[in-house]
Structure formats: structure tokens, C-alpha cells
């Protein structure tokens, strides 16, 4: 009898070998879509100083400083600056000034200083330095007084 029980038990165990567990399984899918996004945060505006020959008013000159903007993006966007159209100059300045806005970027996107539209293909956070230079030609000079200009930095 003892042998019979052992034989039956062994037979059942052998039968169960290779059988899968009866608990059911299922897959739950998760989908998500992120469209291109861009955030511009102006950290600081810029300061322009005049050159010794009084023909350049620029954030590049000694004592001047670039504006700083933080860019956060998923990528797939582009960065550009608009031509400067909005300026305030002293009444004594009656001669023409050529304004040239430029930008450069460090961080997730390394961009050498440029004034043209630049693609930001990769995602990440960068710090953009925005510069502005005003120049006068010939014998024209910048005058004493307050100058102000607005640079539009666009992410699209």
C-alpha cells in the first residue's frame, strides 16, 4: 500500500511538470503624445555702452552686457530674432543708426552668435545670450542721452 501511494504521487507530479499556471495575464498599454513646446523666460535685459569713437552703441562694448533668456523645449522648434523696429533715442540724435540683434546659446543647444533662424532639434534647457549693436557710419556719432531698444526673441 505504501508503495502504491508513492507511485501514485510520483505519477501526479510527473503529469504536472510542464503545465503553466492557470492565472490569466493581460497587457495594459499606455500612450502619450508630446507636441513641440517652447518656453522663454527672460532672466535679464541687456545694457549697451558706447565705443570710444562714439560710432558703436553695443552690448558687446566694454561695460555692456547681453540679455539672458532661458529656453526650455521638447525640440522640433526654431529660434530667431526680429529686426529692431522699436527704439527710443535722444532728441539730439538725428542721424541714422543700424541696429543688429544677435543671439548665442549654451547648454542643451550650442549656437554660435548669429542673427539668423536656428533650429533647436534636441530637447533640453539652454541659456540664450541676446546682444544688440547699433552702429553709425561716416561722421555720424551717438549723442548724449538715453537710448532704448526692444529685441524680439521668437521660438516657433
Amino acid at each position: 500500500m505504501k508503495f502504491f501511494r508513492t507511485a501514485i504521487g510520483a505519477a501526479v507530479l510527473v503529469t504536472c511538470i510542464g503545465q503553466t499556471a492557470s492565472a490569466a495575464t493581460g497587457n495594459v498599454l499606455f500612450n502619450g503624445t508630446i507636441t513641440a513646446t517652447c518656453t522663454l523666460t527672460v532672466n535679464s535685459n541687456g545694457t549697451m555702452t558706447v565705443s570710444t569713437n562714439l560710432q558703436s552703441l553695443s552690448s558687446h562694448n566694454a561695460g555692456g552686457s547681453a540679455g539672458s533668456v532661458q529656453v526650455d523645449t521638447t525640440g522640433g522648434v526654431s529660434l530667431s530674432v526680429d529686426p529692431v523696429t522699436s527704439t527710443t533715442v535722444p532728441a539730439s540724435d538725428v542721424t541714422a543708426t543700424t541696429w543688429t540683434p544677435t543671439f548665442a546659446s549654451t547648454g542643451a543647444h550650442t549656437i554660435a552668435e548669429t542673427g539668423t533662424t536656428t533650429a533647436l532639434a534636441a530637447p533640453g534647457t539652454s541659456t540664450v545670450a541676446v546682444n544688440l549693436a547699433g552702429t553709425k557710419g561716416g561722421s555720424n556719432r551717438f549723442s548724449a542721452g538715453n537710448y532704448q531698444a526692444t529685441v524680439t526673441l521668437r521660438c516657433e
Binding site: 507636441t35 518656453t39 523666460t41 521660438c155
Partner: protein, 130 residues
Amino acid sequence: MTYVRILAAALAVALVPIAASGQSMTPMRGEVRSFTDAFAVRVFPGNPYDQRIRVEIHVYDQNFQPVDARITPNAFLLAGQASRPVLVVVPFDGATERKVRICTESIPFPSEQTQIRAQICGKFFGHRRF
């Protein structure tokens, strides 16, 4: 058992969609089909700063010429880290399709020599169906 509950709660929190606190405008791309003589887009400008700012919405064509669109509202004060919906209705002006840029512009901080105006533009394509 308590451990399992804590784990389940943590997983649930991790799966909650995380709102992008610094979003300046979303969406930035879109394609709309309309059966009328105009198409509508709803955008969500956001304020990434901690303080309240003034925001303006403008609509331009592909050459950055202003488009006579109905924007509701077109200028408003936005609280820090907040966003709000803006409805933009763009007329087809007789065309069967129209590409426009909808731009969110922040007003620069005053009293600085070189002001920076941040502008986020989305590109939207409207198709007219008859």
C-alpha cells in the same frame, strides 16, 4: 499589505499627468478642418514667471503680416505659473486653406536699456470643407 498600498499609491501618483509649469503656449502645431468660413483654435498661453505678467496674443500670416482674427481675450494679465485658454477664430477670407501663426507675446520689463520681448509662435493650418 500596508507596503502594497503604499506602493500602489506611489505608482498612481507617478502616473498622474504632470503639468508643465513653464509652458508659454500650447499647442504649437495644429491642423483644423472647418465647414464654415472660419476655423477656430484654442491655445493656452502660460506664465513661466513667479509674478503676474501682461500677455498679448497676435495672429500673423506666413509673412508675419497681421491677420484680422477674432481673439478672445487678446490681452490679459496672467498670474505667476498659470495658464488660461484663448480662443482664436481665423477667417478663411475666401481661400480653401490658410496657414497662420498664433503668437503669445510677453510685455518686456520696463526701464531697461535693451528690452527683450519673448514671443512664442505656433503654426496652424486651416482647411475648409464644403
